[in-house]
């Protein structure tokens, strides 16, 4: 039989995507469908004095205009956050603003019409009278005394204060440390920019009082749960959520957004299908953003460069409202990652979550872990610089050793496995590090400024043991489901609670099934993204599909194999434990010539003419898999940049990535994930900036202003892997979807600072735009002179 696991099988999804025959939400059309245009406020903060919808309603083709008050009158609930922290403030988040708007782009009315064009025409006729109020967009500014309040219930705009680690132990380490370094760092805000904008289509069937929502979601069951139980107040079985082909999520399609609430309400109210698709300019101001931290960090080390303790204070900008994972991203997905792959004695990380008059901030590819890695890896470089040590060697001497696992960090996590030096060595060899440093030195004499930057990152992903996350405030479980249904002909349908929005589950999961049941991949279909078909599942984010979703699948397959072996044993008149499966046949060990194929067994299971005593007919199994721990991918990324001192322009010349995500199910898909991840992280370092001005206006709201990385901004990546399997899941797999993003931002940042070393520059905040770098050089020149 062909072995699929580990093979670069071409993606079964791609023919439909490449030929334009994918079915995305906006491709769907239903009879009598009406269309929505959202009226969004241009103000960052304002009181709504009056909304006059009369003119819009008179516009030919307009069906209805919905206001926040109408939703309140219909008892449509506030959208709740999915994670709670001690003393957290959770002000209500209504789908349509009622009396105050708190960020530019917030919805103040929804116009429903026979066509989107009519709806957009009429949206301009909705007359909203505002009283403009002062606004604040920066986290630290929101905390300042006298800052405008975002919510009356959040004093000084504080949503929560959270910390992790032993502060006293950290203080003691700092007291005895030979060397300490300190940096103030800003982690810039990003807009997610999935290629497919968010979209929702709702249908109401009056006869059965049932709603169906097609939406761009990474986790349709979570949407159904929130919408049914918290927002609409209807039984879950009255709402079906379907997430068809989805063009990228990066976290931004996890959350419950106002627009889904609006289309569902409207569909039921009007008894017509109602559709909304974001325009790109809407995406910029209404998708949840990512990052946006201001931090103070101090690192202590002994005189040889062994790190002792890390002290971090972070202000996390949460935006105007808490969305689903808003509270957990800058806390448990951030503070717990501060240890990296190093041996720390003590770490303390305190985070203040702050409301501002900006779009909500939530999970974005990496979600907390890129922020932690950026901070830690910048601190490691700063320490190396301070000690005059090679940054690669400083990292090496601090690595947790391979015999030290399981390893308890000072910030709650227990690393189950790891072997960090081989990845570093592989990267150094690929780069030819010694020669690269020589070239750097030689070019500096010619007035050219090369920089080499490292990121020896560690990631915790594969979210997550449910009891653990529950104890930390999650209002959700984090297990995953898989249902394997074998047809009488031996063809297999798999229903997974994981969700593919570009990752290629239909391929990778089918590879696992085909191997396990020794059938051709073509005999397997992977179904996901429909609450009416798939058992309850938590969806895909936090690099959990392979580690948790595929593990659930593997466990369900074990059940199928066991039952199949039982049937085969019965038919072959042998004991089940004596039956094995080779070459696509179930047979008695050592007697491969007398076997039953998997399809024979499937047919027998369904005919049930001759099954073992007491065995149920059929061949179907469900497994709900709750992981025992996170999984811990790691690796070494190295960036080589050149800075043009005349213009400040940074060019990424080389990029080496060695990742360890355990065994690769499909190396081609993994490579694609690494490429995309690196591009995403490089984008943050060099190009992207979801910038608000001080008054809360978003000034980068189109691709004319917001710089996404493009092919010609990037070199050919040099990528490789080491393989250290996870010891606790049945496939040994770890996540690969976020590693590139987590690692690359820090690697590029360190490379830029390394290049700027001759100007006496020890730190510069992202993004490293030409002007930022040029100004730093001008300042540095003055300081050096």
């Amino acid at each position: 039989m062909e072995q699929y696991f580990g093979k670069a099988v071409k993606r079964v999804e791609d023919p439909r995507f490449l030929t334009g025959s994918g079915q995305y939400t906006d491709d769907l059309s239903l009879p009598r469908m009406a269309h929505v245009a959202m009226v969004r406020t241009p103000f960052a903060h304002a009181r709504i004095r009056r909304i006059d919808t009369a003119q819009a309603l008179e516009h030919p083709g307009v069906v209805a205009v919905i206001t926040g008050q109408a939703l309140r009158d219909a008892n449509i609930g506030s959208i709740p956050p999915g994670w709670l922290l001690p003393d957290i403030k959770t002000p209500p988040h209504y789908a349509i603003a009622v009396d105050r708007v708190r960020h530019a782009g917030e919805i103040v009315a929804a116009v429903i019409a026979e066509s989107r064009a009519i709806a957009e025409d009429a949206a301009l006729l909705v007359d909203v009278e505002y009283e403009m109020l002062p606004a604040v967009s920066l986290g630290s500014a929101a905390l300042a005394s006298g800052a405008p309040a975002v919510h009356d219930e959040a004093i000084e705009n504080v949503c929560f204060r959270w910390s992790i680690g032993d502060q006293a132990a950290v203080d003691a380490e700092f007291d005895r440390a030979a060397k300490t370094v300190k940096l103030s760092l800003r982690n810039s805000r990003l807009a997610p920019n999935a290629i497919e904008p968010r979209a929702s289509l709702a249908q109401y069937v009056r006869a059965s009082d049932e709603l169906t929502l097609w939406t761009t979601s990474q986790n349709p069951h979570i949407h159904r749960l929130i919408l049914a139980a918290f927002v609409l107040g209807i039984p879950e079985h009255k709402l079906r959520v379907i997430s068809p082909d989805v063009g990228g999520g990066f976290g931004s399609k996890i959350f419950q957004y106002p627009e889904e609430v609006i289309v569902l309400y409207a569909a039921r109210k009007l008894n017509r299908p109602v559709k909304w698709t974001a325009r790109r300019t809407e995406s910029f101001v209404s998708d949840s953003h990512g990052r946006d931290h201001e931090s103070e960090a101090e690192l202590a080390a002994d005189d040889e460069g062994h790190v002792l303790a890390l002290r971090v204070k972070t202000i996390a900008n949460l935006g105007a409202y808490l969305t689903l994972f808003g509270p957990v991203v800058p806390t448990y997905l951030y503070g717990t990652l501060m240890n990296g792959p190093y041996r720390f004695r003590a770490i303390h990380c305190a985070v203040t979550g702050v409301f501002t008059h900006t779009a909500p901030v939530d999970a974005l590819r990496g979600a907390g872990r890129p922020e932690a890695t950026y901070l830690l890896e910048r601190m490691m470089d700063r320490m190396a610089q301070e000690l005059g040590q090679d940054p690669a060697e400083l990292r090496r001497k601090n690595f947790i050793q391979p015999d030290a696992f399981p390893y308890q960090t000072p910030v709650a996590l227990v690393y189950d496995s790891g072997n960090y030096e081989p990845a570093l060595d592989k990267a150094l060899t690929t780069l030819d590090y010694k020669r690269a440093r020589e070239a750097q030195a030689a070019l500096r004499k010619e007035g050219r400024y090369l920089g080499i930057g490292f990121s020896t990152y560690l990631e915790a992903c594969g979210l997550a043991p449910s009891s653990l996350v529950g104890s930390l405030g999650a209002q959700a479980g984090q297990w995953e489901s898989a249902l394997v249904r074998v047809m009488p002909t031996g063809k297999v349908e798999v229903f997974t609670g994981a969700h593919s929005h570009g990752q290629g589950h239909e391929t990778a999961f089918a590879q696992i099934v085909a191997d396990d049941l020794q059938i051709p991949m073509d005999d397997v279909v992977i179904v996901h993204g429909d609450t009416a078909k798939v058992p309850f599942g938590w969806g895909s984010y936090g690099s959990r599909s392979a580690a948790v979703g595929a593990s659930a699948l593997k466990m369900a397959l074990n059940k199928i194999r066991d039952k199949a072996a039982g049937i085969a044993a019965h038919l072959l008149e042998a004991a089940p434990e004596d039956v094995e499966m080779t070459g696509g046949q179930l047979h008695v060990k050592g007697v491969p010539e007398r076997g039953k194929s998997f399809s024979d067994i499937a047919l027998q299971a369904h005919l049930a003419h001759n099954l073992p005593e007491g065995m149920e007919p059929g061949l179907e199994a469900t497994h709900f898999y709750d992981p025992k721990n996170f999984v811990y991918p790691f690796g070494t990324h190295v960036a080589v940049v050149e800075v043009d001192p005349e213009t400040g322009r940074v060019t990424l010349q080389r990029y080496v990535a060695v990742d360890d995500c355990g065994p690769l199910i499909n190396p081609m898909i993994a490579e694609g994930q690494v490429h995309g991840g690196i591009a995403h992280g490089v984008g943050q370092a060099l190009l992207e900036h979801a910038l608000y001005d001080e008054q809360g206006q978003f000034v980068a709201g189109s691709f004319l202003e917001y710089a996404m990385p493009r092919a010609d901004d990037l070199p050919l990546f040099e990528i490789d892997h080491t393989v250290t399997p996870s010891p606790h899941n049945p496939l040994g797999v770890k996540g690969i979807g976020e590693t590139g993003t987590i690692a690359s931002t820090a690697a590029v940042a360190n490379a830029v600072i390394d290049a700027l070393g001759p100007f006496g520059i020890t730190h510069l905040d992202m993004p490293f735009t030409a002007e930022n770098v040029w100004r730093a050089i001008q300042g540095g020149k003055k300081a050096v002179a």
Binding site: F43, A104, L124, D693, Q695, Q697, G701, E705
Partner: protein
């Protein structure tokens, strides 16, 4: 962002001051033929202004409020105006100085774009705002010339 400038007008400060307080004159100066200014109360005006910059054309509706005035020397005003694609808010200051038998109008302001305009128009704001303000005072001068004849 700050825009500023000054403009010499061959008229007395009292004359210039009077014009600056005449809604009809202001409307003509904002955009000839395309603006309307309606008094809403003392020193408060409702404004409708058509703006055209290249292919971008829009009608802005808003409110102008004179927040401080010291006749015939100085005034400060605020403006908030919106159209379907966003809006603009601004604080402005106008000072009238005696200048060689005429008046020097010294002006400054901090225009800020709102909503979609802020997202799209940033690179052009300074140039457009500066040009519009300069045009305003050129027209104001023309009003003086016209009232002289």
């Amino acid at each position: 962002m700050q825009i500023q400038g000054s403009h010499h007008i061959q008229a007395t400060r009292d004359q210039v001051w009077a014009l600056l307080n005449d809604p009809d004159v202001l409307a003509r100066c904002c955009a000839p033929g395309g603006a309307a200014l309606e008094a809403e109360g003392p020193d408060q005006f409702k404004a409708t202004v058509r703006v055209a910059v290249g292919p971008v054309k829009g009608t802005f509706q808003g409110h102008i409020r004179i927040t401080e005035k010291t006749p015939p020397e100085a005034m400060t005003l605020t403006l908030i105006a919106r159209s379907g694609v966003g809006g603009v808010s601004a604080n402005g200051r106008i000072r009238l100085e005696e200048d060689d038998g005429g008046t020097r109008v010294v002006w400054s302001g901090e225009p800020q774009l709102l909503g979609m305009l802020a997202s799209l128009g940033g690179r052009l704001l300074q140039g457009v705002a500066q040009a519009q303000a300069e045009e305003f005072f050129r027209r104001l001068e023309a009003e003086i010339v016209a009232s002289d004849t």
